[in-house]
């Protein structure tokens, strides 16, 4: 009945060093090989912006860009991340200046509790990198793996469409 993540019950391994690239910088984290990247980010690197939502890869709160693709970090073992690029919500700003999506989200006040927004910003960033000028239906499709419980969907969609019209970054 209980729905627990597979890694939690897999045979225990000893901690090892893993070299992972996060927001353009290399870090060595020491943890068990099947530890999800989410815990390495939040616990070992102190990057708290990536959120725990379900641990099952179902809600999108923990999305990071993994080689440019929105990917649940709760479901991504640290061994598989070594040698790849990870971008978290903290990596979206440039020299402390918020990205156009972050600016547009602020302008549209596109959140209530804001807990799901890190993952939504990650999905939206990937969308605009691939499709600079999406229509509303495409924005909704691109965000469909991200759950928002407060009901900020309309504002989020407006903010993404607005960001697409802004100057980069």
């Amino acid at each position: 009945m209980s729905d627990s993540p597979a890694w939690a019950g897999s045979p225990l391994t000893e901690p090892e060093d893993f070299d992972i690239e996060v927001n353009g910088e290399h870090h060595v984290v020491t943890c068990r090989r099947d530890t999800p990247v989410l815990y390495a980010l939040r616990g070992d690197l102190g990057l708290k912006g990536t959120r725990f939502g379900c641990g099952l890869g179902q809600c999108g709160a923990c999305f990071v860009l993994f080689d440019g693709h929105p990917t649940p970090s709760c479901d991504l073992p640290v061994w598989a991340a070594a040698g790849h690029s990870i971008v978290t919500v903290e990596g979206l700003a440039t020299d402390g200046r918020p990205s156009r999506l972050q600016r547009a989200f602020t302008e549209e006040q596109a959140a209530q509790c804001g807990y799901c927004m890190s993952g939504i910003l990650i999905s939206a960033t990937a969308l605009l990198q691939q499709e600079p000028d999406p229509d509303e239906a495409r924005v909704r499709e691109a965000l469909d793996r991200n759950l928002c419980r407060c009901g900020s969907h309309g504002r989020v969609v407006r903010a993404v469409l607005k960001a697409a019209k802004m100057e980069t970054p």
Binding site: M1, S2, D3, S4, P5, A8, G9, L12, C31, R32, P36, Y39, R42, G43, G46, L47, K48, G49, R51, F52, G53, C54, G55, L56, Q58, C59, A61, V89, E90, L92, P98, Q102, F105, T106, Q109, A111, Q112, C113, G114, Y115, C116, M117, S118, L121, V139, R140, E141, L143, D144, N146, L147, C148, R149, C150, G151, S152, H153, G154, R155, V157
Partner: protein, 707 residues
């Protein structure tokens, strides 16, 4: 307790309990209400800036803590602006008066010539005579509130009533630490709890060896059927909890009712009856031309916050306890923790820290108490507990399953003559301290105690099952009763709007049928029966916003309207829904008109209404907690789906602000009207009425077959 808002002690609090002037030019505001994602801290900042005549960015609103007041009970029931906001406005008006008096006396000028511009106190020639900031630390506000200062005339407002950007959102969009899950304290440890597999299950046997073999595990805690683990690494706490779970055996008696017969179950239980309204008109009988009887149902509904519960606790060496929580009520939680631990309240400090969206009594209080129980094993070190998604879905207290039976009689014109409404459901209040017990999940487990049935808020506080059961329409002979079940096989408590969702769904569904039977337009029929002009105005406004008169007809397209005044005393809300329906309902658009009286932050309010409407649409078409005779079976986002981005409706809000009227609570007003408007639109689209929530394809099929 749910009475909330009024629970200050007998003596008048000091002005300094609510605000403080600092030498470096800030106003620190202390509130007892908490940020739940609704933007209340920003609204409070606007109120303070307005009354004190300072710029909004000079106001800093601090998170609530029991370490200093005020105690404003629980943040619930859409009452924060109505009560705490009014109290803050009065305190700020008084603080301004005291500051001006002090400035007049110091500068030796008549009080009447002074005015304030952003904290600068100016004379009649606009010459600066003093500033607020020079009175910092002078003890000027260390006096009881007297109630003698008159707040500003609303017509003079420049901050209140205008859009203000939320103060908390920049951190949240940047991913900066702000949530309770982000707390990182020196020596912090990570706890996980292993919950029983089912309600009523008891821990029989446990082998701790496997869990203890993880080198980072520092404690395994077992107390009755409460079981948990503490580790130095969060991922290892998750692993250890899973190993404990695999090596625990439980007795699991079948304690749950038959999900397929919930209405029959609820109506067969012992109940507490509450008469909500009774008007007797002996002459009514003679005018009855037609009667209809209908029954409406809803399932258990989960809060399903996007983050599972989290709590942090640290026991000091001397037995004092500090707790960090995203609870809606830090003072009631402190009392409950003290009672459960048999200690003095004065030895417990509870701080509020923001969590993910909160829509009622969720797992926050329980997670805090889990941290208390686990941290006791490691004195001096803070322990952070995060629930699993599985536990969140299985153990949070749900909004109760309910059933409404309606009998309505109309005259030959189709106007309502007699109305009888009976509603059954579990209680909607099991917050900490209910039933004179701590009411915390971990405490029930440690004592292997059966949970006392949830209570209902009093009628004066808006009732629970009976919330919004009394229609706003003109009715000659009326009989409305609520029946709270006194058994609780499945844990229930407060979920946004409480019983209003089903009651309004029932009332507004039947109103739709009555209008149709009378051959009158749905909007006109309601307007004709509503005695309150503000009610009629919001119904017309929603219709106008949606273009009701010229609404396009289309294959499988349907339109519906519904109205309610939340709690019969808060905001008026009318909703027009446009749906597309064949075998399933797709909610395309919601048009929401709201009269909330005075509005502090229009955009913040619109944001809350949009969110509440979208969430209610999700409840209406998708959501139901599922269970077998042993356990809850909807335990992840696949078995408990909610509306996604491709399914969420476009929501358009129109506020009818009346700045000279008192503010009316608004946070929960849309739930009932949205639910009913969608069902009415479904009927408009496919010609059948579905009276059993949620409006899923199988229920629509059943309604078509039975039509």
């Amino acid at each position: 307790m749910s009475a909330g808002g009024q629970s200050t002690s007998g003596t008048q609090p000091l002005l300094s309990a609510r605000l403080e002037i600092t030498a470096d030019g800030f106003v620190n505001v202390f509130v007892g209400k908490v940020e739940l994602g609704q933007g209340i801290l920003t609204a409070f900042a606007q109120i303070a800036a307005e009354e004190l005549d300072v710029a909004l960015d000079r106001v800093r609103v601090f998170g609530a803590t029991t370490a200093r007041g005020p105690d404003e009970g629980t943040t619930s029931g859409s009452r924060s602006v109505m009560h705490a906001g009014v109290a803050l406005r009065q305190a700020c008006a008084e603080a301004r008066a005291r500051l001006l008096e002090a400035a007049a006396s110091q500068a030796n000028v008549p009080l009447g010539v002074l005015c304030v511009r952003d904290g600068q106190i100016l004379d009649e020639h606009a010459q600066p005579r003093a500033t607020y900031w020079q009175f910092a630390g002078t003890g000027l506000l260390e006096r009881p509130a007297s109630g003698d200062a008159k707040p500003k005339y609303p017509g003079d407002y420049t901050v209140v009533g205008r859009d203000a950007a939320r103060l908390d959102l920049p951190d949240k969009f940047a991913g900066r630490p702000r949530f309770i899950q982000d707390l990182s304290m020196p020596g912090q440890l990570f706890g996980r709890v292993v919950r029983p597999p089912a309600p009523g299950a008891c821990l029989n046997a446990l082998d701790e060896l496997a869990a203890r073999s993880i080198s980072t595990v520092v404690a395994v805690v077992r107390d009755g059927s409460f079981l948990g683990v503490v580790a130095t690494r969060e991922d290892d706490a998750v692993r250890a909890a899973e190993l404990l779970r695999r090596h625990a055996s439980w007795t699991e008696p079948p304690t749950l009712p038959d999900q397929r017969a919930m209405a029959e179950h609820l109506k067969s239980q012992p109940v507490e009856d509450l008469a909500l309204a009774r008007i007797v008109d002996e002459s009514a009988h003679a005018d009855v031309a037609k009667a209809i009887e209908r029954s409406y149902r809803r399932p258990y509904v989960a809060h399903a916050s996007i983050a599972p519960g989290c709590g942090v606790a640290r026991w000091e060496g001397d037995g004092r306890l500090t707790v960090w929580t995203h609870s809606q009520g830090i003072f009631p939680l402190r009392s409950a923790i003290a009672a459960a631990c048999a200690m003095e309240e004065a030895s417990v400090v509870v701080h509020h820290v923001e969590g993910a969206g909160c829509y009622g009594h969720n797992s926050a209080d329980d997670a805090a108490f889990d941290a208390v129980l686990l941290a006791r094993a490691v004195p001096g070190r803070p322990v952070q507990v995060v629930w699993s998604r599985d536990d969140e879905f299985a153990w949070e207290p749900y909004g109760s399953a309910m059933v409404v039976d309606l009998r309505v009689e109309v005259d030959h014109r189709g106007d309502i003559v007699r109305w009888r409404h009976d509603v059954w459901g579990g209680g909607h209040h099991a917050r900490p301290g209910y039933a004179d017990i701590p009411g915390l999940l971990g405490d029930f487990e440690a004592n292997e105690a059966v949970m006392a049935p949830a209570e209902d808020p009093s009628f004066a506080n808006g009732a629970g099952n009976g919330r919004n059961a009394v229609p706003a329409y003109r009715i000659r002979d009326l009989d409305v009763n609520a029946h709270r079940t006194l058994t609780m096989p499945i844990r229930t408590s407060s979920l946004r709007a409480l019983g209003a969702t089903l009651n309004v769904f029932a009332i507004e569904s039947v109103m739709d049928e009555l209008a149709e039977a009378a051959g009158v337009d749905q909007v006109d029929y309601r307007v004709r029966q509503l005695p309150d002009e503000r009610a009629r105005a919001v119904v017309r406004a929603a219709a106008d916003l949606a273009g009701w008169v010229h609404r396009p007809a289309g294959e499988s397209l349907g339109w519906g309207i519904a109205y309610a005044r939340y709690k019969n005393s808060c905001a008026h809300c009318a909703v027009v829904a446009c749906v597309e329906a064949v075998s399933e309902v797709r909610v395309r658009q919601l048009f929401v008109a709201v009269d909330a009286g005075q509005v502090i932050n229009p955009d913040g309010l619109a944001n809350q209404i949009e969110g509440g409407a979208t969430q209610a649409a999700s409840w209406a078409v998708k959501e139901a907690v599922t269970f077998d005779r042993h356990a809850i079976t909807s335990r992840d986002w696949e078995s408990y789906p909610i509306l996604r981005f491709t399914e969420a409706p476009t929501v358009t809000v129109r506020l009818l602000p009346l700045q000279h009227e008192p503010p009316l609570g608004v946070g929960e007003c849309a739930a009932g009207p949205v639910t009913a408007a969608i069902a009415n639109a479904l009927h408009d689209a496919i010609g059948v009425r579905v009276r059993d929530l949620p409006l899923t394809p199988d229920r629509i099929d059943a309604a078509i077959r039975n039509a």
